[in-house]
Amino acid sequence: MNEFLSRLQARRRFVTRTLRNASLALLGLGGAAVAVKRRRLLREGKCLNSGMCRACGVFEDCGLPRALSTREVVARIRHDG
C-alpha cells in the first residue's frame, strides 16, 4: 500500500513538474510573440497606444493634437539648438 502511495506521489510530482515547465514555456513563448508582433506593427507604422495619445510624435502622419504639438516643440528645439 505504502509503495503504491509513494508511486502515486512520484507520478503526481512528475505531472506537476511537467505542467509547470509547460506553463513557463507557454508564458515565455507568449511574451516573445507579443514582442515580435509589436515590432511588426511598429515597422508597419501603426500606433500602438490604442488611441491614448502619449505625445510621442513618432509617426509623421499622425494628426492627434498632442503629437502635432510634440513634433512642433521638438522641431523648435532642434532649430534653436
Binding site: L5, T16, L19, R20, S23, L24, L27, G30, G31, V34, A35, K37, R38, L41, K46, L48, N49, S50, M52, C53, R54, A55, P65, R66, S69, T70, E72, V73, I77
Partner: protein, 453 residues
C-alpha cells in the same frame, strides 16, 4: 501561548528547501528601482506640449495617459514587491510584515496609481492582442499579466497575499470572518469562471473591457466615479467585513488563472515550519476556508455512495457542457448587444423603421460619418455570428467548470496533516501564528539571535 513577535529566522525549516532569496538580492532590486526613478526625473526636463490652437482637453473618467517610463517603474515596483512578498511569506513567515507590504501596495498601486494598470484588467489586453491582428498589448501590461503568473508557478499566490490592491482593500476591512460552507463556496466560485469567460469573450470580439468597466474598487482609488460601481464596491467591502475577500474568492477573473497555476507551484505556504503535530489549533485560523483537514480512509458504507455519486457526476458532465453550449448560443444576440457596432445598428434600424422617435448622439454620429446602413448591418451580422460561436464556447466552459466542481467535491484526496489548499490559499500568512511549532521556531530563532549578541 506567548505572543508571536516574528524575527529573522536562522533556524532551518525541515520541510522547506533553501531560502529562495537573500537580503542582498532585494537591496540590489531596490537600487534598480530607485535608479529607474532617477531616470524618470529626466522626463520632466522635456518641455511639455503646449497648445496654441485653443484646443482644450475634454473631461475624462479614466486616468490620463502616462509617460511610458512610469509604466516601467510600475513594472519594476511590481517585480520588487513580488520578490519581497515571496521572501516575507515563504522565508520570514511574518504576517505583520506581509500586512505592511500589502498596505504599501494598496497605497501605491491603488491610491497613487489610480488602480491602473493591474494584471486583472490585463487579461483583456492579452485576449485582444491574440484575436486582433492590429492591436499590440503595451509592454507594461504584458509584464503585469505575466510576472504574477510566473511568481505563482514558483511561490504560490504571493501576488494575491501582498501585492494586489483589490485584495488588500478587502483584507484590510476584514474584522469578523465567518466560515462559508465548502459546497456554497465552490458554487459561488462559478461566478468567477463565468465572469472570466465573459471578459475574454467581450475582449476577443472587441466589444468592451468589462473587467475595467466594472472594477468595484477603482472608484475608491480614484476618489470618485460612477455611483453604481461605488455602491457595488461599498457593498463588497461591507460583505468583506464578515466574508474574507469576497471579490477575490467569488468574482476575480485573474484569480481563476492563479488558482490553476498555484496547484503547480514549486513552493507554497506551509502552515507548520516542520512536522505537523495534529494539534488542530490552525483548523479555524484561515478566514478564507483554505485549510484542509487530514483525511483517512472512507468511512464504512460511505465509499459506495461516494462512488455512485462520482459516476453520476461523470455522466452529468457532458450533459452540463452540452447544456452550456446550447444556453450560450441561445444568448448570442443579447451578448452581442455589448458591442457598440451592434447597438448602433439596432438603433439605426429602429429609427429607419420608424419604431422610435428622434435620434441619439450615437445615431447622429453614425450618419455624420457618411457610412451606408447596409455596411453597418453587415458588420453587425458578422459580429453576431462571432458571438454565436463565442457564446457557445463560453457556455461550454461554464458547463465544464460546473461539472468539474461537482466531481471535485466528490473526490477525496488523501492528506495526513492539516495543509493550506494550493488553489485557495491567498498566502496572507494568518495561519502561521496559530502553529505551536512556529512559536517554537521563533523562540529558537530569538535565542540564537540573543546568543550571538
Amino acid at each position: 501561548m506567548h505572543s508571536s513577535r516574528e524575527s529573522l529566522s536562522s533556524v532551518p525549516f525541515k520541510n522547506m528547501s533553501n531560502p529562495p532569496f537573500c537580503g542582498a538580492w532585494i537591496v540590489m532590486f531596490l537600487i534598480a528601482i530607485l535608479g529607474s526613478c532617477l531616470v524618470a526625473q529626466g522626463e520632466i526636463r522635456f518641455p511639455p506640449p503646449e497648445f496654441e490652437s485653443g484646443y482644450t482637453f475634454p473631461q475624462t473618467t479614466s486616468p490620463a495617459a502616462q509617460p511610458v517610463i512610469r509604466e516601467y517603474i510600475d513594472a519594476a515596483v511590481l517585480i520588487g514587491g513580488l520578490l519581497l512578498a515571496s521572501y516575507l511569506i515563504l522565508k520570514r513567515r511574518s504576517r505583520r510584515a506581509v500586512f505592511a507590504l500589502m498596505i504599501g501596495s494598496l497605497l501605491y498601486f491603488g491610491f497613487l496609481r489610480d488602480g491602473c494598470i493591474c494584471p486583472i484588467g490585463a487579461i483583456q489586453n492579452v485576449t485582444l492582442t491574440v484575436f486582433d491582428s492590429s492591436y499590440a498589448i503595451p509592454i507594461a501590461a504584458a509584464i503585469f499579466f505575466v510576472v504574477p503568473l510566473v511568481f505563482t508557478l514558483f511561490h504560490g499566490r504571493v501576488f494575491c497575499g501582498a501585492i494586489c490592491p483589490l485584495g488588500a482593500i478587502q483584507d484590510a476591512v476584514l474584522i469578523r470572518p465567518v466560515a462559508v460552507p465548502r459546497g456554497l463556496e465552490s458554487g459561488l466560485r462559478l461566478i468567477a469562471y463565468t465572469y472570466f469567460g465573459a471578459a475574454v469573450l467581450f475582449a476577443a470580439t472587441g466589444s468592451a473591457f468589462v473587467i475595467c468597466r466594472y472594477d468595484p474598487f477603482v472608484g475608491f482609488f480614484r476618489l470618485g466615479g460612477n455611483w453604481n460601481i461605488l455602491v457595488i464596491g461599498a457593498s463588497l467591502l461591507l460583505i468583506g467585513l464578515f466574508v474574507g475577500r469576497p471579490y477575490c474568492r467569488f468574482l476575480c477573473p485573474y484569480g481563476v488563472i492563479l488558482r490553476q497555476l498555484s496547484r503547480l507551484s514549486k513552493r507554497r505556504v506551509t502552515i507548520t515550519p516542520n512536522e505537523c503535530i495534529q494539534c488542530r489549533l490552525c483548523e479555524n485560523a484561515c478566514p478564507f476556508g483554505a485549510i484542509r483537514e487530514p483525511t483517512g480512509d472512507w468511512p464504512e458504507g460511505e465509499y459506495r455512495i461516494a462512488k455512485r455519486r462520482l459516476a453520476l457526476f461523470l455522466v452529468l458532465l457532458p450533459i452540463l457542457i452540452a447544456g452550456g453550449v446550447w444556453g450560450g448560443y441561445t444568448l448570442r444576440n443579447q451578448l452581442a448587444r455589448v458591442h457598440p457596432r451592434v447597438r448602433t445598428a439596432e438603433r439605426i434600424y429602429l429609427e429607419e423603421a420608424g419604431k422610435v422617435q428622434g435620434t441619439t448622439n450615437v445615431s447622429d454620429a453614425f450618419r455624420a460619418t457618411g457610412q451606408t446602413t447596409d455596411l453597418l448591418y453587415e458588420d453587425a451580422t458578422k459580429i453576431r455570428t462571432r458571438f454565436g460561436l463565442g457564446g457557445a464556447l463560453l457556455g461550454g466552459f461554464v458547463g465544464l467548470m460546473a461539472g468539474g466542481k461537482l466531481i471535485a467535491l466528490s473526490v477525496r484526496r488523501r492528506r495526513t496533516e492539516y495543509e493550506a489548499d494550493a488553489a485557495s490559499c491567498f498566502a496572507c500568512g494568518r495561519c502561521y501564528k496559530f502553529c505551536p511549532k512556529e512559536h517554537e521556531r521563533l523562540t529558537k530563532s530569538r535565542e540564537a539571535v540573543a546568543g550571538h549578541a
